[in-house]
């Protein structure tokens, strides 16, 4: 046996070596944005046409990982822009002091809430919602209250607020609707919870699409993909009377970036139709600006929540641990 490991590595290296053009913008993001059919490639092409630079993605597992990586690298980071944080990770990211103000005027935003933040620029948003299988559940609950009071043989799949963004979203949703009563309502709900998965993917792929339960915690925009691409109306979101909790995905400039101007140009580009038109079907979320006629037709058929529920990120950061602990207590009692 003659293993020549170093040689192997040496032989592999040139395969990856690329010539670097004059200006490169490094963006840290997560996999669903950078995927081949995600918005990433189209955005890259569109931006490179206008900037005469190269747009580079470094793909990390989740928003949490982007933040983690940024923290580890500190001011020596090679990131110019981070894209893929959300309202749950924003505050922690802000506190690192590694991010720079965007100095843009955010007057063309089309968000259900008023957005004034000098660091984070939203690029898409959506509502958390329970998606149900119309074949298994022809008449879904019409409100959160109805779901909580439903008999225990209605099974639902949720995600764990300790490890997943939608999971935390439901926790905040319950908190926003019920306040101090949330604990008792969670106890009522727990009998219906078939599984509390680590991530949205685990629940959606392994359980929901296998028909294990008729309802799963997801996004109100999820049916858009099934309707537009899969050509099926089978999966729909249940509209809840109390309103739906809002998630906003954001990007920010990195303080230590040597390409501040280019970074700002990208952030501006981010709020233009050239970027935003790829959001609805490729990221399956609402665009952050009004796209007018460019918004795909299926988006008209999505539920329209009566009210957008939203807690300030700073408040979320303060309350999260005690909310999670209360949830744990309710679910394990």
């Amino acid at each position: 046996m003659r293993f020549r490991l170093p040689l192997l590595f040496a032989a592999l290296l040139p395969a990856f070596a690329t010539a670097e053009p004059a200006q490169v913008l490094n963006v840290y993001t997560h996999p669903s944005f950078a995927a081949e059919w995600g918005p990433g490639p189209a955005v890259k092409q569109a931006f490179e046409e206008q900037c005469e630079c190269e747009l580079n993605y470094t793909v990390l597992e989740s928003g949490g990982d982007i933040l983690q990586r940024l923290r580890l690298e500190g001011s020596s980071t090679s990131a110019d822009v981070v894209l893929g944080l959300d309202t749950a990770t924003m505050e922690a990211a802000r506190q690192t002091g590694l991010l720079a103000p965007h100095t843009l005027t955010l007057n063309n935003l089309a968000l259900p809430v008023d957005w004034q933040d000098d660091t984070f620029v939203p690029y898409d948003w959506g509502y958390f919602a329970f998606v149900y299988d119309t074949e298994l559940l022809p008449e879904p609950p019409a409100s959160l209250e109805e779901l909580v009071n439903a008999p225990d043989d209605l099974k639902i799949i949720i995600q764990d607020p300790r490890t997943s963004t939608p999971g935390l979203g439901l926790l905040l949703w319950m908190h926003a609707v019920y306040g101090d009563d949330a604990h008792a309502k969670w106890q009522q709900l727990s009998g219906k919870v078939l599984a509390t998965t680590q991530s949205w993917s685990d629940g959606y792929f392994s359980l929901f699409m296998n028909g294990e339960a008729p309802m799963i915690l997801s996004y109100s925009t999820s049916p858009a993909y099934h309707m537009a691409v899969d050509n099926t109306d089978r999966y729909q979101a249940a509209r809840f009377e109390e309103g739906h909790y809002l998630q906003v995905e954001v990007a920010a400039l990195v303080n230590s970036s040597k390409n501040q101007a280019l970074g700002r140009e990208f952030m501006e580009f981010m709020l233009s139709p050239a970027f935003q038109r790829h959001i609805p079907l490729k990221n399956v979320m609402y665009p952050a600006i009004d796209l007018g006629d460019e918004l795909p037709e299926v988006f008209d058929r999505l539920i329209r929540p009566s009210k957008a529920l939203f807690l300030e990120p700073a408040e979320v950061a303060r309350e999260r641990r005690s909310l999670v602990n209360a949830w744990l207590d309710a679910m394990t009692r």
Partner: protein, 560 residues
Amino acid sequence: MAANQSQPLRPAPFSAPAWQLAPGLIIALALIGLVLLGLGALLHTAGTLEFEELWQSRYLRGVVWFTVWQAVLSVILSLLIALPVAMTLARLSHFPGRSLLLRLMELSLVLPTIVAVSGIIGVYGRQGWLTSLLNDWLPDHGWSLYGLNGILLAHVFFNAPLAARILLQALESVPAPRLRVASQLGLSGWWLWRAVRWPALRPVLPGVSALVFTLCFTSFAIIMTLGGGPRATTLEVAIYQALRFEFDFGQAAILATIQLVICGSLWWLVFRNRLESSLLPDRRFAETVSLKDSPGQGLGRVLLLGIFSVFLTLPLLAIALRGLPALWPASPMPSIYGQLLPATGRSLLIAVPAGLGAVVASLFTLAAANKPGNRILAAIPVTTGYLPLIVPPLVLGTGLFLLLRPQLGNSAQGWVLVSLINGLMAIPFVLQVLRGPLNAIDKNTLNQASQLGILGWYRWRWLHWPRLRRPIALGLAYGIALSLGDFGVIALFGSPGQPTLPVLLYQQLGSYRISEAAGTGLWLLLLLVTLFALLSRVARRAPGTNTEPAPAAAPEPRHA
């Protein structure tokens, strides 16, 4: 009898004693350094520690208790199934489909969790095949996959085949003379176990148990998907929560330390006593030795293997059926191959060096562990070899990241790094596969090799390599397969735009491309089957020394 008087020989290459100890020790120290660096970095960023508060938390105590409890149950169940299966397979050394069954057994562990769990749910879930059958026959069966049931079922699915595979390897190394004596004496039942099986299993059993325990102890996504709720929480979940979601590095470091202490002391216990080498040389004979059967045993064995095969096959079949529509040429989107093939190439580019590296590092580690001398010193390399299993990848990754950060300039280095960590993560499995066969060599043979001066490289080439070729092929297959199916490490370090297979799978999931994701899952499954089949074949007929007894070659009397 004319022969040249052998002139004074140059010493065998790499025969200086340091060569046996140093590389393994260096690997061990590097690993310890990494872990300390990772933990240290977390503690450093954490600032204040709330150790006391954490220790007194009811939640944490519950988590530790549950983690240990489910791991112990999983070990017991896995071994209860693995032992009879391994013994039956050792007994029935020729039957159609045996090697297929072995390949299936190698598969379950290396499948990406999300794919395997989806298969398990397709069979045992509320709408699963078996549950539907059960509903028809026994309407009030009360079976539910979600809860401790599901966790144990999945852990047995993942670990019993691994354990059986390693135990089988140990049983197959029983020296033929011992088997012949047992056959002649007509031993069966308890005495066969006592005289033949147990002595072969005893050296590997503690290691196998510790391996399965650690795998179940650090289990994560399975526990959360099938556990039914936050009552089923392992330490690893809490670490993930602290590290990725709450950015509470201090708590993460403390939890990781608790995990390290519990699993680490288990491994230390296992390796504190070095195994004595085998007592009998394994003389090989052309024919298999047949042992006495008690009545009904034949039928029982067929039944056992049949049930076990079904248990393993059904979830894989569910995966196949689910993925087939996306891969079949008639599907509306055959473009899936445009992504699958390049992703496969990238995956192999990372996985093959990782597998080779894991095998080489494991061999060095075992060489150091077998070096006569200080027992404690010798236990260090093997114990640390299992560190990648115990330390959350996130902690290990953080350490490596800090260590290599200034050099992490371009993506090429990123890929080499991913390969390196994947190799590290595979070491515990490769170690387990190689350990038994390497130690099975008898004292007498070693003495003779010493007298003839077969040392260093020569000893490896002529004594170990011919005997280890098949275990090495299996270890290599595990190493490559584990890193083919890996998602965690590559996601941790960030990959350049182009995805590997598991990253592709998660990207498809994240974009609602469920059927394509199922297709990718099946593709990965097929790739893994091919890999294991290929390597087991290559090992069987490699050129060079003749390891297989030529069938019925010399009808000589055997009265040695």
